[in-house]
Amino acid sequence: MKMEDMPLSGPDNTKLEALVHEIYSDLVEDACLGLCFEVHRAVKQGYFFLDETDQESMKEFEIVDQPGVDIFGQVYNQWKNKECECPNCKRFIAASRFAPHLEKCLGMGRNSSRIANRRLASNNNMSKSESDQEDNDDLNDNDWSYGAEKKAKKRKSDKNTNSPRRSKSLKHKNGDLGSSVNTESYKYNYNTGINYETLGPDELRSLLTTQCGVISEHTKKMCTRSQRCPQHTDEQRRAVRVFLLGPSAPSLPDGDAVVESDSYDIPDGQALMSRLQWEDSPDISPTDSASSKASTNHSDSRRPKKKKRASLGLNSSGGGGGSGCPIGGGSSSSSQSNISLSTKKKRPKLPAPSIPNIYDDLN
C-alpha cells in the first residue's frame, strides 16, 4: 500500500488530523458498543442489578464510623464477654485460661504428648511381655486420632475412679487387686533391671531360678523377665549363672518345669521383685515421704503437692502401658497426707482438754 499521495504537512495536515480523529471516534464507539452489549446481556440474563439492594437495607448495613463503637455500631468491651465454651466439658472458661484448660481437658498439648511418647516407647519395649496386650493395641490404634485422646483421657479418669473394668482386668491378670502396686514396681524395675552387684548370693540364687537374669552390656543390669524371655538365649542365661553362682550352679530348669511354672512364675517374680525392691530402698516412693514431710511443715503447701503427686501417678501410668498403678500411688500419698494432717490437727488439741483439768485442780 502506497501512501505517497498523503502528505504529512501543508494544507493536507488538517485532513490527516480529521482522519486521526475519525479513527479515534471509531475506537470509542467500539468501546461504547462493547459496553452496551455487555450491559444488555447482563440485563437480559438478570444479573445486572444483583449488586444493588434496596435503600432500607443499605441504611441498615451502613458502616458506622464513630469513636467507641465497631463498624456495626456495637459498643465493644475489651474484657467482657470473652469467655469460650469448652467443646469437651461444656464449661465457660475465660479466654485467657482457655488454652491451658483445653490442654488438660482434651489431654492434648505438650505434657500429654510426652505421656503419649513415653507410653509408645514402653509399649515397644514390652510388646513381648505379659502386659495387657489387648489394652495396648487399643492405645496404639487410638493414639493418632483426636477422639482417641479423649478416650485416653477418659481412661485415665476411669483409673482415678477405680472403674470396674480396670480392676477387672487387673484381677484377671494378677488374681489380686492388691498386687497392683507390686506390678507397678515390677514394671519400673523392668525398665531399669537389677544391679546384680548389690544382691547377696541367696538373693541371686532365688532370682536366677525365677528370672532370665542375663546381664545387659549397656546398663550392667539383669534382665527381669521370665526364663524364657525371647531377648536372650539359653546360652547367655547359662553363662550368667555360671558367672554368678559358680560352675556348680544349677543349670536351667528343663522345659517341663518351665512350662509348668509358666503361669505362676510371673507373679512370683513380681512378688520377689517387689520384696527385693523393698529391701533395697525402704521407702518405695521418696516423693511420698517428701510430700508428707512437707505437709507437716507447711499445711498450705500440702494441697498443690498432693495434686502434683497425683498427676505424677497418672504420668507413670502412661508409661506402664495402662496397668492401673496410679490408684496405689495417688491414693497412698493422699491417705498419707491425710493422716499427717489429722495428726497435726490432733496434736495441738491434745493439751486443750488438760488445761481445764489443771484449772479444776486449782479450783
Binding site: D5, V20, L27, V28, E29, C32, L33, L35, V39, F48
Partner: protein
C-alpha cells in the same frame, strides 16, 4: 472525494492488517476501565434501563443513549494518548 475515501479505506485496512486496531482497542478499554469511565457508563446505563423498563430495553436504545455520553466522558489524557498512537502509526506507514 473519491480519492479521500479511497485513502481512508486503505488506512483502515492497514490498521486492521497490522493488528494495530486491535491493539488500540485493547489499550482504550484498559485505560477507560482504569480511569472509571466504565463505572460511570454503567451507572448511566442503570438510569437508562430503569427509565425504559427492564423488559423493554434493547441494544439500540442503549447505544443511542450511551454513545454520546461515552464519547464525552473519555478523559482528555486517554484521548490524547490514543490520538498520539494513531498519528505515530500513520507517520510510520505513510511514507
Amino acid at each position: 472525494m473519491s480519492k479521500d475515501s479511497r485513502m481512508r479505506a486503505t488506512i483502515n485496512q492497514k490498521l486492521t492488517e497490522m493488528g494495530e486496531r486491535e491493539r488500540l482497542k485493547e489499550l482504550l478499554r484498559a485505560k477507560l476501565t482504569e480511569c472509571g469511565w466504565k463505572d460511570q457508563m454503567k451507572a448511566h446505563c442503570k438510569e437508562v434501563i430503569k427509565e425504559k423498563g427492564l423488559e423493554h430495553v434493547t441494544v439500540e436504545d442503549l447505544v443511542v443513549e450511551i454513545t454520546p455520553k461515552g464519547r464525552a466522558l473519555v478523559p482528555d489524557s486517554v484521548k490524547k494518548e490514543l490520538l498520539q498512537r494513531i498519528r505515530a502509526f500513520l507517520a510510520q506507514h505513510a511514507t
